[in-house]
Structures are given as C-alpha cells and as structure tokens.
C-alpha cells in the first residue's frame, strides 16, 4: 500500500485536474443512475399510460440524459488520461535524471537489461494503472456505493436477496488479491532473467560459436523460456479460477432478482416499472464487479512494478555536488592523492587502493604503471569522481574534489577511456559531445590535433557521417582518435588517458602518440598504460602494486633503482634488447649498403 501512496505523490502537481476528473466522474455515475430511472418511467408512465406522446417524451429525456452522460464521460476520460500521462512523463524524467546522477558503481551492480526492463515494462505497468485502472476502480467503487443506496431505497428486501449470492465474492477476491501480487512479481523477475540470458548470448555469440556451444545455449534459453511460461501460467491460472467465478456470482444475483423480484411484483410489493428500473440499476454494480478481478490484477502488477522504479529513485547518488558546492572555472591542474583507501561497496573487505599518496604538479605528465588489477584505472577514475575514496582525499588545486561542484569539476577534465563509447550520431556531434555549441572550425581543429581529420574526410559525408549502431563502422584506432578529439575539444586542464592505445596497432599507436605529445603540452596529464613505449616520455612514472605506489621517478631514476620498474622494463625489453642487437648487427653488416648511408 505504501508503494501505492507513494505513486500518488506524483499526482500532486496535477491535483486540480485530478479533482476535476473526479468531479466529472461523479456526474457520469450520477447520470448512470438517472438513466435507468428514466427508463423505468418510460415503461411505467409512458408505455403503461397508453399515450404515445408520453412515450416520446420520456424516450426523449432518456436520450438527453445519455447525451449529457456521453459528453461528461468523454471529458472525464481525457482529463484523467492527461493526469496519468503527466505522471508517467514525470516518473520517466525523474528516473532518467536519477540514472544520470548515479555513479559508476551503481552500473556495476545492475545490468543494462535490468535497467531497461524497468524503464520500459515497469513504467508501462505503472502507466496503465495510474492512467487508467485507478480511475476505473474509483468509478467502480462510487458506482457500487451509489447503486447500493438507490437499490436499498427502491426495495430493501429485494436488495438483500440479490446481494446474498454475491457474499462469497468477498472471499474469492480476497484470495485472489493475496496471491496475484506474488505471481506478478515472479513473472517480472523471470522476464528479467530471460532477457539477461538473451542479451549475453547475442553479445557473446562469437564465443558461443567458437566453442560450438549452440546446443548448450539453446538448452539454457529453453530453461528460462519454460520458467517464463510456467510463471505466466501460474498467474493465468489464478485469473481463470477467479474471473469466471466472479461473473457467475454476479449472474446468480441476476437469477435472484428474477426470482425474488418477480415473486414480489406478483405479490404486489412493486410494479413492473420498478422491476425494470431495478434490473437496470443492477448493471451499476455488475460492471464494477466483473472488472474487479481484472482491476486488482492491474493494481498488483503496478504495485509489483513500482518498487522496482523506486529502487532506482531511492538510490541516493553517492556522488553528487554537496550543498553550496564551490564552482571552479579554470584549475591550474595540481592533483594530490592523500592517504587514499578504496574498496568497492559490494566487496568492502577487498582493498583496491590502500594508503596511496601522490602529488602531481600543474602541467606535469605522470604515467601510472602496474599489473592487471593493481588499481591503476581506479586511481584515474577517482579524479573526476567516478568513484569516491573510501578513506583519504583527492585534491585538485588544494580543493577536495568532493567539495567542488561536480559539473564544473568534470568540465576541467578530458578523459579517453580504454573502451571507447560513441553515440549514434554524426562524427561532429560525437566530437562536440562535451561542448555541443562548438563551431565546426573548433571541431575540425580538435580532430586534426587527434590525427582524426584525414580519415573523417574520407568518410561519405565527412563530419556529418552517421556513426554508431546504425551508421558507419569504425576501427578501434579510429574510435580512439575520435574519443581523443572529443576530449581535446573540451580544452581540459587535466587529461586522463586510461589505456587509450592498448587496442590499436603499432602504426596507429605511433600516430596517436605523436598527436598526444602536442595535446599534452600545458596540461596536467595522467596516463595509464602497460607498454613502456607509451609512458617513457612522461615527466614522472609511478608504479602501482597491491594498491600502493611502490616506486616513482623518471624513467632513468627508476631504472637506476633496480626495482619493480626495472623488472617490468626487463621483461618488456629483454626481447627488445635482443631485437636491437639483432638490428644493430644486421645494419652493421649492411652498412656498405647505400640505402643505410643516406
């Protein structure tokens, strides 16, 4: 119930329209109550009077009343739908806003398929109920109450007789209501699992095929598919046990009316007109009762969906600007890590960083080296606050990043991540992602700096070429260069490169390196890489191991140290040394060759 109440806080901004709609509904139900009366009059005072003019008069009244009802009914629905649609739009907007505010760690725990299922199916379930079911429910309750009052006024004894067969409905409805909520929750969860299996199968199809595991996958899907069918059938069985039973009990009320009502008219406790009017009024409780099971199902479905939406909304963005956050315009680019500890929230005992200290001067180029899982990427991600430290501080120009206005902080930082994500948009829009207002000249300048201009010009529509899912496919190196251009266009004071060139071939890496040298001038840069060739030009190299810095210094200093760096260096260059020797010998032997002398 709490979920439901909360759902209706979204109606609050539209309470004016909501009450208008409720008022119109009262009018509709009122005219629903008047129409049978007029009908009864048409029989009693018209047909019974034996005068055609009377019949015409009452029939005319009947049509007028119905006309009024139809118009009011229409207005009521439109207003109600407007409220419902406003609510759904607000819920969607709020969810989206929250999704954008949630930190990377949230996405670590919730698969994309899950999020999408919530943004689509669950929102639609809520929409159906808020926009429609709820009001039908209200209308039903009002109709039942109004009709009951009138029926009792018309003939309370007959009414008692008619209502008795409907008493078991209470039990049927109670049992249904108790079970259908759980059944819907199961259906939703199972659909989520089916979607996840499907998504993984399709995104990993290369692996599936390479290992000839199609049959295993078909079996895995069949299991989920079968569970999905069973869960749905369990829900439908409840409905099949309930809905026709409700219909039957309503029908028994009709039979009771025919029997008791008929006998009462016979015994002179009323006239025919009353009998007919009564029969018409009965529809006022019949339709809501027939809808009852279905409405409860819809409500329970919405109530199963709502918590899944609230779960997203209630995820306080762990990473947000504090109140009265300080905006920064242009930082110098001094970065300091002070006793930084970090563990992921879902694995609090596994320290990824433990007591890390690092000071980076403005304009300095610092390279971070370390083995897989040593926490290098994390270190970089702490600067734009993709994660917050568990203990300690990260400071930019002396300000704790957690005290800065988040957007102003991130605008200072250009990031080229390991896995490039480009949007389904034009090349230009992708490069201008951080500065949508940038001119084409700016975009081209950034692309040139990132060595991307040439291949962009070779594409069918140049900068207006559509890329992404539905557009031109790009190679890994091309994607990386676009990502680099995107970062450059921000003109950031701080540049972060997280394994930006690990996936490109030597030639491309070489080109990107050259581009980078120009880009990094005057900016504080942090480079994460494994290849020493990428990082040896850095002003300083830090070596990360088990979440702490074990060595730092220039290439030469570290080599002189003879520690971890030297070891990595040797690993990487022992072969290179051999190769170099080989090359030297080779070239010596060829020295007389004219090609090498010039």
């Amino acid at each position: 119930m709490r979920q439901l109440v909360r759902l209706f806080t979204f109606v609050k901004p539209y309470r004016g329209r909501f009450f208008l709609s409720a008022f119109l509904m009262v009018l509709v139900i009122g005219s629903d109550l008047v129409v049978p009366m007029l009908f009864g009059w048409t029989v009693d005072r018209g047909l019974a009077s034996g005068e055609l003019s009377q019949v015409v008069f009452y029939a005319g009244l009947l049509v007028l009343a119905q006309g009024f009802k139809s118009v009011t009914d229409y207005m009521q629905w439109v207003v109600q739908q407007d409220v419902g649609q406003n609510v759904v739009r607000d819920i969607r907007n709020k969810l989206f806003e929250r999704l954008q505010a949630l930190p990377v760690s949230f996405y670590r725990g919730m698969p994309t398929g899950q999020i999408m299922a919530r943004m689509t199916n669950d929102v639609e379930a809520v929409q159906e109920y808020v926009g429609w079911g709820f009001l039908v429910q209200m209308a039903g309750v009002m109709s039942i109450l109004g009709t009951t009052v009138i029926l009792f006024l018309l003939d309370w004894q007959l009414t008692l007789a008619v209502y008795v067969p409907m008493i078991p409905m209470v039990l049927v409805v109670y049992l249904f209501d108790k079970r259908i909520g759980v059944a819907w929750e199961r259906v939703r969860e199972q659909m989520g699992r089916l979607t996840t299996v499907l998504q993984e199968n399709i995104s990993g199809i290369r692996v599936v095929k390479a290992f000839a595991r199609e049959r295993l996958e078909i079996g895995r899907f069949r299991t989920e598919n079968e569970k999905n069918r069973q869960d749905n059938l369990a829900r439908l069985r409840l409905e099949a046990n309930t809905f026709p039973a409700l219909d039957m009990m309503v029908g028994l009320a009709f039979a009771a009316l025919a029997l008791v009502g008929g006998l009462r008219v016979l015994n002179g406790h009323g006239d025919l007109g009353l009998f007919f009017a009564y029969q018409w009024y009965l529809w006022g409780i019949i339709w809501p009762l027939r809808f009852l099971g279905w409405l409860i199902s819809m409500m329970r479905q919405a109530m199963a969906a709502a918590p899944r939406l609230f779960e997203i909304l209630d995820n306080a963005p762990a990473i947000a600007s504090p109140p009265h956050a300080q905006k920064i315009d242009r930082v110098r680019g001094e970065i300091r890590f002070k006793d930084v500890f970090f563990a992921f929230a879902d694995e609090p005992d596994r320290w990824v960083l433990q007591g890390l200290n690092l000071h980076i001067n403005p304009g300095e180029v610092v390279a971070v080296l370390g083995s897989t899982g040593s926490g290098k990427s994390l270190l970089v991600n702490l600067i734009p606050r993709f994660h917050d430290v568990t203990k300690g501080q990260v400071l930019i120009d002396g300000h704790d990043v957690r005290e800065l206005e988040l957007n102003s902080l991130r605008r200072q930082i250009g990031i080229v991540p390991q896995e490039t994500f480009l949007f389904s948009a034009t090349v230009r829009e992708n490069i201008a992602y951080g500065r949508p207002e940038a001119t084409l000249e700016d975009v081209i300048a950034a692309a040139k700096l990132a060595q991307a201009h040439d291949f962009i010009m070779e594409m069918p529509k140049g900068y207006d070429t559509q890329i992404g899912e539905r557009g031109v496919r790009l190679s890994g190196g091309q994607k990386q260069r676009l990502a680099l251009a995107r970062a450059i266009l921000l003109d950031p004071a701080i540049l972060l490169l997280d394994e930006a060139t690990s996936a490109v071939d030597t030639q491309t890496e070489h080109e990107i390196q050259q581009a980078l040298e120009r880009v990094m001038a005057g900016r504080t840069s942090v480079i994460v890489a494994q290849r020493l060739s990428t990082i040896k030009h850095a002003d300083r190299i830090v070596v990360l191991k088990d979440g702490v810095i074990v060595e730092e210094g220039t290439h030469e200093e570290l080599l002189a140290l003879g520690g971890e760096y030297t070891r990595i260096y040797e690993l990487q260059y022992r072969e290179s040394d051999e190769l170099a020797m080989e090359l030297a010998q080779f070239m010596e032997s060829r020295l007389p060759d004219a090609r090498w002398s010039n």
């Binding site: 055609l52 994309t112 199609e214 069949r222 598919n225 059938l233 897989t372 890496e509």
Partner: protein
C-alpha cells in the same frame, strides 16, 4: 537472393510499426496454433457457452415478465429464474475453460515462437550478428513475439466471442421482430461510420505513440550504455533536456490518440441510446396496438443494448492485427534467413585433427559490392606449427581466422584441414577441436569456474584450477572471497579487462584444442602476466597448430612462420630472420616499432 541481400531487406523492415493484412503471414501465424488444436476447440466451446448465456438471458428475463409476472404465474417465475441460474453455472464452466485454455494457447505459442526464433538464430552465421545490434535482435525475441501471441490469444478470443455474440444477438433480434430490428438498425450506418472514421485516424495516432515511446527507449538504452561518457563530459543537463523533449512528445502523441479513442465509446453508447429510443417509441406504439408485449420490448431493448459493445471491442482487434503483421514480417524475416553455414547432407565428422591447415587460393569478401577482403591467399601450415599473422588493422587477419573457424565460407578457393575441405565436414566437429581467445575476452555472467568450464563442460574443479594457474589467473581468484564461485557480473563487468582476457585464455586451454587461435589475446594484460602466459604457451602449444594475431613483434617473433598481410594479400612469409633479411614490409613494421624505444635510440643507424 544472396545472404547479403536478404539481410539488406530485413534492415528495411526495422522501423515499421504496422503492415497491411497479409494472408500468407496470417496463415503462418495460425500455423502456430496447430499443436494446440484440442485447446483451441475447448476455447471455442467455452466461448460458445459464455456467448450463449449472454444471448439467452434477456430472453429468459422477458419470459419471467411475460409468462410469470403479467399472467401472475409464480411457478413460471421460479422456473425461468432457475433456468437463469443454471445458465450462469454453465457460463462459469465455459468461462473457466475459455480463460484457461486460451492462456495455455497464448503462453504456448509465445514459448514455441521464442524457442524457434532463438534456436534458429543460434544457427545463423556471424554475418547476421555483425549486421544487427544486440538490442534489435532482442526486441524480436521479446516484444515482436508478444505482439503475435497477443493476436492469437486475446485477438482470436475477442473475434470469436464477440463475433458469436453479434451474430447470435442479431439472429435473436430478427427472430423476435424483424421490424423492430430494422428500426434499431436505422442508426447502424451512422455507427459504422463513426467506428470506421475514428479507427483510421486512431491507427495513425497510436502509431505515433508507439514511435515516440520507442524513441524514448532507444535514447535511454544508449544513455545507459554510455553513461560514463555522459558523466565524464558533464552532459547530464543537456541530455535531460533532450529526454524531457522526448517524453513530452510521447505525452502529446498519447493525448492526441486518446482524444479520438475515448470519443468512440461514448459516441457508440450515445448512438446506441438513440437506437434504443427509436425502438422504445416504435415498440411503444406497437404495444399500444397490442401487437407486442411489454416484456417483449424490454427483452428486445436488452438485446439491442448488448449489440454495441462487441462492435467496439472487435474494432480494437483490427489494430492488434496490423501491428502483429509488422511483427510477423520481421520475425518471419529472421526465420527465413537461411543459416549460411550448415552441414552438408553428407557431411562427415572431422576426425581428430592433426593440424595441417591449407588455404588454397582463397578469395573472400563480406558483401558483393565490396573489394576483395582476401585475395588469392594461399599457404600451407604443417601440424604443430605456430603461425603469426601480421598486418595493419583491416588488412584481413581476422578474416583469415573467420574462414578457418568457418564463421564464413570462402567466395573462391578452399580452406582445408588435414585434407578435409571445411565445407564437407560437420561444423561442430570442427569447432569443438579449435579454441579462440579474443581481444575483448568476453565473459558470461556467472561464476569464474562456469566461465572457464564453458570450454569443456565436464572439466573438474581441479582441472579448472590447473589451467587458471597456467594462465596466472589463480592468484587473483584466490584473493577473492568467493574464489572460483565469484560472480563476474553481466559481460564480466565486475572484473577488469585484463582479468577477463585471462578467463578467456583459461577457457580456451581447458578445451584442449587441436588448433588454437589467439586474436590480440594479450593486448590488455600487463607485461608480467603476458610473459608468464607466453612462457606457459610454449609448453601448451606443443603438438598443436596455433595462429597468433598480435601487434607486438615481441609476441610474434618466436612464431615458426610469420605471414605478413596487406590489403588482403600475403605479401611476405617466412621466419623472423628470413623476413628481416628481406628488408621488406616486415622489416619496416619492425623499424616503426623501434621508433621511440629507449634501446632503439641508442642504435640509431649511422
């Protein structure tokens, strides 16, 4: 029609929300009812029972009046009341049968269609998956399938039930009084006009609604996938603004549709009352002439009243039908895409591979209007040899692997293993003897152990740990609380890229493949691990044929032979030493890689 053209055509169907009625598709959809013949008959019987009740009830009520109340006959009242009661008991049974059986049919069709689609898609070649984004294939199997099941379940029940109602009511009315029926139907053309007119505009409006909602979903999906970029570039405000625009236009589209849709029922109801009024007046006149009884007129009006609701309900099914047609076209489009790579009828299982690989003048391209991706690729690999493929991005290295795994077939020429043309052997027997490690090291959600076991389903825990140790993964796993049971999350996003690669490595090794393919397999692991893996590899590669794609010369110089590929051709082949001596393409690549090397700077050519 070539595979490529077929996919082109499928692509054009993507954005279509509705299609005109197509008999062939409709029959094919109906074909999915075949396994549920019995259930279908039961559903129809249930429908008949329910409709029968709704048809007889007004008549019986009329009889209560005419036979019971008016002639003051309490026995008749009791008799007819009992009949009404019995009728509703029958309706209960009918209703239960109808609801349950149609549920079984609906869920059954949903299950069958989903399973068919999934099974079929598993057999399609990589060309299909390279072409379509994941989300699109998924919406075929989730929502398109649902739209067809809905048509077969709700749609057919409505058409049958309401159709029987309509016809039955009409028949009863005609039987009762064809004159009053004619009077009542004076307004019918008006009614049909309303329903028809409104439906046409309505279809267009609901189409807009679906379109606008699908825009919201597409945008949400992309935003969620690229959230880190969104946040990194502080685009939240801009994107929220855009999203608000999308939800607002969905709101507007919806309201526009609802304004027409909600007008229909009140209008039908109003016109219905007009008809009722006419009947009451004419009927009244006839009662006064004593040609009709009151009970008769009441019963007649009651029937008339029940005539309008089915009309409105049936017109809704029409919309359901059109959108099911669009879904059917897409689904059948997938189902009709013939698997490109299939076993020939007489295909034999490939015996245990010795490892001789022959590319016999192979030509290949992905689509007809493309230049050759591979042109006259011709080489022989001896069993146990390690071959390195070297070349720029896009030079054709991966295409060679795709042909070797038989993800694609050559356009001209042949690929042979141990003398068997790959097209003549069973695909499974081929692929199960090969293993590949890909650059992105894909992992499935589930435990680390399950991910490794994917390579060989009957591997024991000890074997899994042994390969994990060999690729240097064990140490990391031991540091985890759950150890090998650690859940790597969706696509392995709870472990780093490097760790994912190691998992992929272990998965390949446990398969004990006869041919091993490494496609940039160590690009994301650190140097130390890479070295350890390399060392382990020399042992593991013993007796197996291996293909290695790598950018780093350090990784490839120990290969038995190096093939240098450029623009789809093998331009050089030989050992490291031989290729250096040739001073060609390889030599140049080699030099490029030295530029910037600390050691290389010391040995600048004189």
């Amino acid at each position: 029609m070539s595979d490529y053209e077929q996919l082109e055509e499928l692509e054009a169907l993507e954005d279509i929300e509705e299609r005109p009625f197509n008999l062939a598709y409709f029959l094919r959809i109906l074909g999915y009812l075949r396994p549920y013949r019995r259930e279908t008959i039961w559903t129809a019987l249930g429908i008949l029972a329910v409709s029968g009740v709704s048809m007889f009830e007004p008549y019986l009520l009329g009889q209560v009046v005419d036979q019971g109340i008016v002639p003051r006959n309490p026995d008749a009242v009791k008799r007819y009341a009992l009949m009404i009661m019995a009728l509703h008991m029958l309706a209960w049974l009918g209703g239960r049968t109808r609801t349950w059986m149609s549920a079984v049919i609906g869920q059954g069709v949903l299950y069958d269609l989903r399973q068919d689609l999934f099974t079929h898609i598993q057999q399609l070649g990589l060309r299909f998956f390279d072409r379509y984004p994941v989300g699109r294939i998924m919406s075929r199997i989730t929502s398109d399938v649902e739209s067809i099941a809905r048509l077969l379940n709700a749609g057919l029940v409505t058409i049958l039930g309401e159709g029987v109602n309509l016809l039955g009511i009409l028949a009863v009315m005609m039987w009762m009084s064809w004159r009053l029926t004619l009077v009542a139907f004076v307004i019918l053309p008006l009614l049909l006009l309303i329903v028809y007119k409104a439906r046409t505009t309505l279809e267009a409006s609901w189409k807009n609604v679906r379109k606008s909602i699908s825009n919201i979903n597409t945008y949400t999906n992309e935003s969620v996938n690229g959230m880190q970029v969104v946040q990194a570039f502080a685009r939240e405000g801009h994107n929220l603004h855009k999203f608000r625009g999308l939800t607002q236009s969905a709101h507007n589209a919806w309201m526009q549709a609802i304004k027409t849709d909600e007008a229909i029922w009140p209008a039908v109801e109003f016109v219905g009352v007009l008809g009722t009024g006419l009947v009451v007046i004419v009927g009244g006149a006839m009662i006064l002439n004593e040609t009709l009884t009151i009970g008769f007129v009441i019963a007649f009006v009651n029937y008339l009243w029940r005539f309008w609701a089915p009309l409105s309900a049936m017109s809704r099914v029409y919309g359901m039908l059109l959108s099911a047609m669009a879904s059917a076209e897409r689904i059948f489009g997938y189902l009709d895409t013939a698997p490109e790579i299939t076993d020939k009828p007489n295909a034999r299982p490939l015996p245990r591979i010795r490892g001789e690989v022959v590319f016999d003048h192979v030509y290949f391209k992905y689509n007809p209007d493309q230049d050759w991706v591979l042109a006259d690729v011709d080489f022989v690999v001896q069993p146990g040899e390690t071959i390195a493929l070297v070349g720029h991005t896009g030079s054709g290295k991966t295409s060679i692997i795709n042909l070797l795994m038989r993800f694609y077939d050559p356009v001209r020429g042949a690929v042979r293993i141990d003398g068997y043309d790959l097209r003549d052997v069973q695909v499974n027997s081929l692929r199960s003897q090969m293993a590949i490690v890909l650059q992105d090291g894909f992992a499935f959600s589930g435990s680390i152990a399950d991910n490794i076991r994917y390579g060989r389903l009957d591997a024991t825990d000890a074997e899994i740990q042994a390969v994990a140790q060999a690729v240097h993964l064990d140490e990391f796993v031991q540091s985890l609380e759950d150890g090998y049971a650690y859940d790597v999350g969706e696509r392995g996003n709870r472990v780093s890229v490097g760790q994912r690669q190691l998992i992929a490595f272990a998965r390949a090794l446990i398969a004990d493949p006869r041919i091993l393919i490494l496609d940039e397999a160590t690009s994301s692991v650190d140097t130390e691990t890479e070295r350890i893996i390399q060392k382990a590899m020399t042992r593991l590669l013993e007796g197996r044929t291996a293909f290695i794609i790598a950018h780093r010369l350090s990784t490839i110089r120990h290969a038995d032979r190096i093939l240098v590929i450029d623009h789809g051709r093998i331009v050089e082949a030989g050992t490291h030493q031989e290729l250096l001596a040739r001073q060609g393409r390889y030599f140049n690549l080699y030099l490029t890689q030295f530029v910037g090397h600390p050691v290389a700077t010391d040995v600048e050519p004189a």
